[in-house]
Symmetry: C2
Subunit: 334 residues, 2 copies
DNA sequence: CTGAAAGCGCTTACAG
DNA sequence: CTGAAAGCGCTTACAG
């Protein structure tokens, strides 16, 4: 491997000039620049990143904790990681993956990675209600940005990017309404998580706005599973709610609803319109396909990187992005 | 941040001694070691990784190209990444994620990451038939290990770890046989990929061994989609093949088969036993669940890291691991 | 516009 | 067992 010194010798300039050619080319006279660049190319020179990082104390690496929740598979993680990676690379940075215990037990790992200068900062995701990581990192002065809000806190520590769940539900309700549905149920999650409340609120408000009934049409599932989605759908139908639309809080729940409809000889997208959330690979697995709310991954990733790497310190930044309804057969006009 | 120098001053030893306390503690006298360690703890010292890497020219980072194939979602990628990360961390290393164009167009990216010392080497996955990356990397002398074989080459460049697809199919056939099935079909893939041939071969051989028919029972799908799995299953049934078992090359294809069976009023796991490959999250999405062949992710990851970081140069290493059959309702005794 | 010098924080032979 | 010195490959003020 060629070094800066060798390039300098070859181009008959000082190392400083070569460094400038790379990092501040405008400082060089045109002919010098050209000569240096020729030498760089000829020697196939690539700056050693470790030397640079040591000097500048910036590693241009962003830490991301790869989640491991067997009970809640992150079905769009590959999409998210690809988008995050691509966004980081657009600024000359990369993503460093690591594992850590959940919650506060994982903080020493975050701290260590930062202290040993393996990363400049972190992107947090899989945010939980009362997530302790944000406050901890902020207190330590470790740079981070969160994908997802920490709910149930008056003011969230640090910057975040999230997708507007309420607007998503409203979009789904409006779409079902426009395809002729008038009794639209909502399938929610177990305990009152912030995310669930957000999406439920959007359903409720939009139904009210459209003059649709909501009483008895919102149900909570015990867990995010297909079986629960099916069970709850069965309960709604058995109770004689006469529903003709279902907005489910997740694709998994929505698929459960579809299964129950099929089992009863009802055609999803015909008698009952169904929508899910996140536009996971599951949405394309059923037939007809599941209408679902897509998270704008590229935009999310772009904002995360921009905030983490660009925002001047102390500027709390918050970005709420809009989901997009991907329409498939499960919500075809009835 | 405390530096080595400050720790040395605090412990009243030379920097060299502190370095030894960290990297070769056996060289220190017990009391010196203890004194140094106390100072390290007191000053909350963490060695700067960039300085270390600059000196040793090892970054302890392993590159992994995050795939982006919308048409072939990597359904177990999160499992793989978690296992890979954990295995790397057990050796003090981490995973660096990056994106690159597919095929030979991506090689400059690999080269650049290595030349600029962002990574020591690479883990390749999503290996394709005739994958050009292996030969290229080997030629450049860039360390790598492949998860998955490059088929159609007499001798594959570089070390690899893979899962025995033939053994997997054989396991599935034997299981279906043991639950009473005697006419077991195989759902394969479009063109003759090495992976597809491998798995098809296992089905064929095991059927022959058990004295089961194979003629007309092996079909190729045009793509890895649910619809194709369903279409091909319908064709088999319409042709009066009287099948009572289906070994599918992927979970997606298997799910298609299940859908078609359900559509015809047949109960999977009752009249027809069905198995898939990879034990993706999809396997748990259907009801009854899909029996599928699980790849031993932790073992795969462990071997990959061991080969990449431990093998002395020039030792070509090849590891073929065994999949495990995860039995669910789709293959319950008929 | 260009260059000589110092220094980022470590590790590695080499002496003692 | 411990220490003084050199050096990994860059960048950053600072002079000229």
């Amino acid at each position: 491997m060629a070094t800066l010194k060798q390039v300098a010798a070859h181009a008959e300039v000082s190392v400083q000039t070569v460094s400038n050619a790379l990092n501040a080319p405008h400082r060089l006279r045109a002919d010098t620049l050209e000569r240096v660049n020729k030498s760089i190319e000829l020697l196939n020179y690539r700056p050693n990143r470790n030397a640079r990082s040591l000097r500048t104390s910036a590693v241009e690496l962003i830490g991301y904790c790869v989640p491991n929740w067997p009970n809640q598979t992150h079905l769009v993680m590959d999409q998210f990681l690809h988008a995050l990676c691509a966004a980081a690379e657009r600024t000359g940075r990369h993503i460093l993956l690591f594992t850590a215990p959940p919650g506060v037990d994982g903080m020493p790992t975050y701290d260590d990675l930062h202290a040993r200068r393996l990363v400049d900062g972190f992107v947090l995701s899989q945010t939980e209600t009362h997530d302790p990581r944000h406050g901890w990192l902020k207190e330590q002065g470790i740079p981070f940005v969160s994908f997802g809000r920490v709910w149930k806190q008056t003011t969230q520590p640090g910057p975040w990017v999230d997708v507007d769940g309420a607007a998503g539900s409203a979009l789904a309700v409006r779409h079902l309404y426009e395809t002729g549905r008038r009794r639209i149920a909502f399938l929610g999650w177990p305990k009152a998580s912030g995310l669930a409340e957000d999406r439920a609120g959007g359903w409720r408000d939009e139904c009210k706005r459209l003059g649709l009934p909501i009483s008895g049409l919102s149900v909570r599932c015990r867990e995010d599973s297909l079986d629960e989605g099916a069970r709850v759908t069965a309960a709604l139908l058995d109770a004689g709610r006469e529903i003709d639309g279902i907005v489910a809080l997740s694709d998994v729940l929505a698929l459960g609803a579809l299964r129950e409809l099929t089992r009863r000889g009802l055609t999803a997208g015909h008698q009952v319109g169904v929508t899910g959330f996140d536009d996971s690979p599951l949405a394309d697995v059923v037939s007809p396909g599941l209408t679902s709310l897509r998270q704008p991954m590229d935009e999310i990733a772009g904002e995360l990187i921009k905030i983490l790497t660009g925002a001047p310190d102390g500027t709390p930044t918050e970005r709420l992005l809009q989901p997009e309804l991907v329409i498939r057969g499960s919500s075809a006009p009835g």
